[in-house]
Symmetry: D2
Subunit: 345 residues, 4 copies
């Protein structure tokens, strides 16, 4: 008998991505997908890739009892409805920022007030390459890590773990993201005519994902640009180590960290066209590409990290976490490959 799942907020971009993943998952069966706006419409009405699936949106007021509930709602919604979510499901995986931070003070610094601060320490942050799997196993409230934070943390984690980087605001993280980060809907700035072809500084300073990064890596100097793609997040981290390092040190640190990780690919300066991490090489997949280069002029380490913001940065991460939480194969439902060539995914 399959494990039953519900997706709340299923007409949004990450909600649709969850439905795609769960439809191809060997363990899960989606029994409910909620959308207030599209109630009674087929999910294929909104997500053309899911045409033919026999499922219609229902309202979030009538939650069915399921094994796992995935909440893909805008920030602030989950904290309001968390009791209903937990009543409906033994395991809740939240894709929003509501339960990612441990400290209420830190939360209030970057967001508005939190209506259920006591749950911040109870929830388990899920970035499965970072979070110990025994913490995820059996967890009943899971907060999937955010897209830009995931890209950054995966890039810098090996340097922190190997003590090459000891957390410094002088670490510069320059991120480039696609338009799907803005979610479905969107206003004038995200219209095709205005958004096409941009290299647009949309969060020069003060991006909320700084908080997640700070929680695990330490302070960084963080700037986000919108660029021309729909899916994808690419983080370039400029690191100035206290002590000089060699490329061998770096290979050692990254291999040590990631050699057994099924969703991290090291890509660092081989030949061919694709010599460093690129978001289009991982579009549609749960893979993160991570790589680096060492600047001979000044010892700077340049780290590159590329993910699909809707997959490894959201829905894929959530399913990965649910796999670990429920004891399934870590890669279940996520072991497919991306496309080559592909345009602007």
């Amino acid at each position: 008998m399959n494990t039953t799942a519900a997706v709340v907020g299923a007409s949004g971009f990450t909600g649709g991505e969850l439905l795609r993943l769960l439809a191809g998952h060997p363990e899960f069966e989606v029994v409910q997908a909620t959308s207030r706006q599209y109630e009674r419409k087929t999910i294929g009405h909104v997500h053309p890739n899911l045409r033919g699936m026999d499922l219609r949106f229902s309202t979030p007021e009538e939650l069915q009892s399921v094994d796992v509930l995935f909440a893909a709602t805008p920030h602030g919604v989950s904290m309001e409805h968390i009791d209903a979510f937990r009543e409906a499901a033994g395991t809740v995986v939240d894709l929003s920022a509501d339960f990612r931070l441990d400290s209420h003070d830190q939360y209030e610094e970057y967001y508005d007030g939190h209506s259920r601060p006591e749950l911040l320490s109870e929830s388990v942050y899920a970035l499965p390459e970072l979070t110990p799997h025994d913490r995820l196993s059996g967890a009943d409230l899971i907060a999937a890590g955010g897209c830009n934070a995931t890209a950054t943390i995966l890039g810098l984690l090996p340097l922190v773990e190997s003590d090459i980087l000891s957390g410094s605001e002088r670490t510069v993280v320059d991120v480039k993201v696609g338009s799907s980060e803005g979610g479905a809907g969107g206003g004038e700035a995200s219209s095709h005519a205005e958004r096409s072809g941009v290299v647009r500084p949309y969060a020069p300073t003060g991006h909320r994902h700084e908080a997640e990064i700070e929680q695990f890596i330490g302070s960084v100097s963080f700037t986000v640009h919108a660029v021309e793609m729909v899916r994808g997040a690419s983080a370039t981290c400029h690191v100035f180590p206290d002590e000089p390092v060699t490329k061998g040190d770096l290979w050692g640190a990254y291999r040590e960290q990631y050699e057994d990780e099924p969703f991290v690919e090291l890509v660092a300066g081989g030949g061919g066209v694709y010599r460093y991490p690129e978001p289009k090489a991982v579009a549609g997949t749960n893979t993160a590409e991570v790589g680096f280069e060492l600047d001979p002029a000044n010892g700077r380490i340049v780290v590159f990290s590329a993910i699909d913001n809707m997959m490894k940065g959201s829905a894929g991460q959530a399913v990965h976490a649910a796999n670990v939480a429920l004891g399934f194969e870590e890669t279940a439902g996520l072991d497919f490959r991306g496309l080559h060539p592909v345009g602007e995914p």
Copy 2:
């Protein structure tokens, strides 16, 4: 024990797509991938989506004995090496145009001379929604249908089968295609700076796929434009029926033709954003979207057909045909879904 497969011409775009599909196929095991240019390189060197696969290119001179050989070589190569291919494999599936036409006269009209014309009648043209499956079953030389022809034939076939269209040069087929149709490599016209953002008439008249279409549907007036995407082919067919038809007639004809086809989706004017076939909705998949509209002003039928040229128009079609030929489940290895949202796939 798995069925063994080889891919000849595996460093090209459709060769890489075959490797991707076969890697996720429950029945096939790829034991050889040839590329003269990239001999001994890993396949991930060329195809970044296949990093981590433990396979290196070998030369086409040393073909292994396999169950099925897929030839993804440029037009003209298969006919030169067909004896070696058939010696190596019980089933050869050719993705080029070399064996698609039945008649040597017709071949010579659109291509140069054919070195093995006697094989034209022996080979089986594979567009599995058109070709009787009993012809494909057990076939030892299969020619997978071409991309633009596939899109056009799938669009018009129900009209021909239902006698709404009786073959007329006044049927206009206006095709829009992505840059991957040109294959890997390419010259000045296909450089990013020159090719980006085009609506470029690249085959105003005399496109070679006319021959395939004529073979099954009759003459059409055929024009191909390059547009901004990497993957995808979209055919808009303007049909003037001899007798007036109703939308009910059209729904009847298309449902009759395709209701049991796993890879054809009818998309005709429902609500939402995606109301007609669009190539980006099927990118990366073997699905063809087919739809239509009736012009009340003059009785014209406008048919839309959208595929991924590298999948339903090439590698997917080839695997689909091999599934039928070898008696596997028709959808084996091809039953995954596309992405939403996605940019310019």
Copy 3:
């Protein structure tokens, strides 16, 4: 002393384009730009290319007295305010569809009811390669031709004038357009994530520009697709002449029609990358590229016509018409060149 001009609806896309053209025009001086939404903001706030221009939006309620008023408002607005426009300006150039058609019956067939039908016969339709310049000279109510109609009419006009085409619904016109045709604002379908990379049939039949085309060329079978670009409209016309024609006949007809036209470039099958008309080659300019090919298989004429929908299809056409109306040099303010290379303009 300069001729004074006002732009009503100046925060929209074509309003901004008018401001750009008038700012570089040797004869006009813009003294007013209206926008209810952006009242008191600088025009550079909305149009980043016009930063540094010393002009702020005012409300349309307080029209200044000017020589020429350009109305770049949505369809239906001009007819409501036409008396105010005419009171403010001796010459009104309207860019909407409100005054393009001669017949009220025809108008009602494609649009809702017209509140000032008596002005339909009074207004002068302006497509300066079609409209006799003596009709434009001194005209006080001018309706600039629409984008898709302009592309189509310019493509087919030489065939009509030379009696090669005698108006037939069997002439198929397959149009591809950029996202700026939807105007500023726009909803879900025009968000970057949903609109990127499409080949989307958005007006399979019944497009309103059919009426303009029919008025001058006769009935055609008209279908419009949205493709990946912001600026541009490309019309491919498939014509079946009653009598066979030669390429020489076609060259004769097109040269005869356009050899003295400063804004039409014949592009028909020379060498190089750009062998036929392409919208990106004319982006930002008032040039229309027109070309053709003859299908040896069946005598079909394939005509290609490419314009920038915001220039030759709107603001450029309006300024061109105003130049003629007021007796200025025909090319005044419009004699600059486009870019090469350029991406998706």
Copy 4:
């Protein structure tokens, strides 16, 4: 009588851009355009935006005597032919890197050996917002500044001049560039299918423009990414000042530096869609947009600088420099505006 000009290397991208600018320039008349590959072809054969111009490519062996020669040849060519260039023209403006550096040692660090090192100190580096105009006036060998260096220098110059930045390798410069930087031609990596939609680290470290930047600004940590656009370069500079600064200090420094510069626009965090510098807002123009933000968390200054690499970063800069050198109006031939909206220019 016009000033006569020749363009050597006129079939390349920047050569074509020079021809476009000179064709619209009130002072210059182009009398020769050389291209070995396209000898005797019209310039419109290669540059579709220049169709109708009555000029054909000639070979660089037969240089005419002109007032100004613009050399738009690949790096290394000008130094070989500089004597011929100087014999043909009183003023030579070179767009390559051959004469940009003052020191032979520095040149050899980033490039191969220089065949005419004695000219390095004789040539005048031209970035007219940096270079004193009296040095440019009457100069007979001018080296126009490079694209990525220009964007970076314009961003950082006010901080250096105001002593906020005292040159530090800890200044991180993260650059995003379009595909035209690779020039016409290009190989597999620049094919449309491979290059589309990338966020590709193409020069993680060791980019040659570091040398130009170091010459004027001091050492920086420099990394260049290829992103999806054809024209454009955007530099994001992360600066850690020794002493804390206020936004008022920054406004003061940037206004002081640029208030009288006709080609620099300060864009720093107003409202609307375009709040910071963006390359698409300046595409096709000689304008640089420069802006900044101050990170309240750690005092970091984030500077944004956006140019069209082919204009302010190459051909526009060269014409600007020639205007100053020959005593013309600084903005002659360069005072036109960009487009809005525009896609991926």
